[in-house]
C-alpha cells in the first residue's frame, strides 16, 4: 500500500527535522542563562562604558549571572547608566559590591565584572532597582596611550 509508506516516510522526515531543531537548540545554542527565569534589575553609573553593548554578560568571577539589558544617558550631566538583569538565583549581593567593565582576552568583547562586597550587620543587601555606587569605567586605549606619553614627557 503505497500511501501508507508515503505517510511513514513523511512522518520520519518531520521527526528528523524536529530532532535537528532540538540538536541545534540544546547542543549548539546557549541555554544555561535563558531570559525566562526569574530576574531582578540593578543599576550602575559609569564615566565611560567603552564598547559595552546591550546583552553583554555580567560575570562574577567568570560565571555569567546576568546580562546588560539597557544602556542610557542619565541626569543633567549625561552619565552613562547601565541596567543589568541578574538571575534571581544570585540575589545576595551586598551594598558594598563593585562593578567594573572588563575585556575578555586581549581583543575580546567587553563585559561587566561584578565583585561581591563584604557583609556585616551594617551593610544592606541589594534589591531590585538598587544602584551599585562603586564602579570602575572601561579602559580606553587612547586615554591609556595619552597617559603613558604624558608620564614619559615628565621624565
Amino acid at each position: 500500500m503505497e500511501s501508507r509508506n508515503t505517510q511513514l516516510a513523511v512522518g520520519f522526515f518531520v521527526i528528523i527535522g524536529v530532532l535537528a531543531l532540538l540538536f541545534l537548540g540544546l547542543r549548539a545554542a546557549n541555554t544555561n542563562f535563558s531570559s525566562n527565569g526569574e530576574t531582578y534589575k540593578l543599576y550602575a553609573k559609569f564615566d565611560n562604558i567603552g564598547g559595552l553593548k546591550e546583552r553583554s554578560p555580567v560575570k562574577v568571577g567568570g560565571v555569567v549571572v546576568g546580562r546588560v539589558s539597557k544602556i542610557t544617558l542619565d541626569g543633567d550631566y549625561y552619565e552613562p547608566l547601565v541596567e543589568m538583569t541578574i538571575s534571581k538565583d544570585y540575589d545576595e549581593f551586598s551594598d558594598t559590591s563593585s562593578v567594573s567593565i572588563l575585556t575578555s582576552g586581549l581583543l575580546g568583547e567587553q563585559y561587566i565584572g561584578l565583585s561581591p562586597g563584604f557583609i556585616d550587620d551594617t551593610v544592606e543587601m541589594l534589591d531590585d532597582g538598587d544602584y551599585i555606587h562603586d564602579t570602575k569605567s572601561a579602559l580606553v586605549l587612547e586615554d591609556l596611550i595619552g597617559q603613558f606619553l604624558f608620564s614619559q614627557g615628565n621624565d
Binding site: A9, V10, I16, L21, F23, L24, G25, A28, N30
Partner: protein, 258 residues
C-alpha cells in the same frame, strides 16, 4: 530607436503582467475553504516527493560543507591561536547563512525544477484543462498541495542541513585536527543565541521556501505548453529562484544582523 524603446516597454509590461499572474495564481490557490480530508493525502504525496526525496542531497551536501568549513576555518584560525573559535565559526555561518541559502539553492535545483516540469507537462498534455472539464479546480487540486509541501519541507531541510553541517565540522575539527572537544561545544554555546541565530535562520528559510516554491509553480503553470516552452520554464525556474534567494538573503541579512 523607437523600436528599442517599444521593446523595453514590452519587456516591462510583460514582467508586470507575469508578476500579476503569479499573484492571482497564488491567491486563488490558497484562499478558500480548506478541505482537510481531501487535501491531506495530496499534501502527504507532495511532501514525499518534494521533501523526503530531497533529503539525501541535503544531508550529503550539508556534511561536506560542514567538513570544508571545519578544515578551512582551522587552517586560518590556527595562525592566530584561536582554533577554539572553530565551533562558533562553523555553527554561526551554517545557521545564519549557509543553511538557509544553500538549502534553498539545492531545493530550487532538485525540487523546484521538478515541480515546474511536472506542471508544465500537465499543461502541455491538457491534463489541467481536463481537470477543469470535470469541475475540479486545478489550482486547488494541483498547485495548492505542492505549494504547502514546499513551504513546510524547506525549513525542515534547512534545519537538517545545519545540524549535519555542524556535525561535519565537529568530525573534521575535533576528530581529525584535534581541537579540544569541550571547547568546541562550549565556545559554540557561548556564542550561538537561540533567538538571534536559530530563529532568524528559520525565518530566512521560510521566506526562501515561499519564494522558491511560488516561482517554480508560477513558471510551470504559465509556461508555453510545448516541449521548448517547458524546457525554458524549467531553466527559468532555477535561474530566477536562485537569483531571488541570493538577493533576498542580502536584504534579510541586512535587516536581521545589520
Amino acid at each position: 530607436m523607437l523600436d528599442r524603446i517599444a521593446g523595453l516597454g514590452k519587456a516591462v509590461l510583460d514582467s508586470i503582467a507575469g508578476a500579476g499572474q503569479a499573484m492571482v495564481m497564488l491567491l486563488r490557490a490558497l484562499i478558500g475553504k480548506p478541505q482537510l480530508r481531501k487535501s491531506w493525502p495530496l499534501l502527504m504525496q507532495q511532501m514525499y516527493s518534494v521533501g523526503v526525496l530531497s533529503l539525501i542531497i541535503i544531508v550529503v551536501s550539508g556534511l561536506f560543507i560542514g567538513m570544508v568549513l571545519g578544515l578551512q576555518g582551522y587552517t586560518i584560525l590556527v595562525d592566530f591561536g584561536a582554533e577554539q573559535s572553530l565551533g562558533p565559526m562553523v555553527a554561526l555561518s551554517l545557521l545564519r547563512e549557509l543553511g538557509p541559502v544553500v538549502t534553498a539553492l539545492l531545493f530550487a535545483g532538485r525540487a523546484g525544477s521538478a515541480l515546474t516540469a511536472e506542471i508544465g507537462l500537465m499543461k502541455a498534455t491538457e491534463q489541467l484543462s481536463s481537470l477543469e472539464m470535470m469541475a475540479v479546480d486545478p489550482l486547488r487540486r494541483v498547485i495548492s498541495p505542492r505549494f504547502w509541501a514546499g513551504f513546510y519541507s524547506m525549513p525542515l531541510l534547512a534545519l537538517i542541513f545545519s545540524a549535519v553541517g555542524i556535525y561535519g565540522g565537529y568530525l573534521v575539527g575535533v576528530r581529525w585536527l584535534g581541537v579540544d572537544d569541550g571547547a568546541f561545544w562550549s565556545v559554540m554555546q557561548a556564542n550561538v543565541e537561540w533567538g538571534q541565530d536559530i530563529l532568524n535562520g528559520i525565518i530566512k528559510s521560510l521566506v526562501f521556501a515561499f519564494v522558491v516554491t511560488w516561482i517554480a509553480l508560477h513558471k510551470g503553470y504559465h509556461c508555453v505548453p510545448t516541449s521548448v516552452g517547458i524546457s525554458r520554464a524549467t531553466t527559468s525556474t532555477v535561474v530566477t529562484a536562485s537569483l531571488a534567494v541570493l538577493g533576498l538573503d542580502f536584504v534579510l541579512t541586512a535587516l536581521m544582523f545589520g
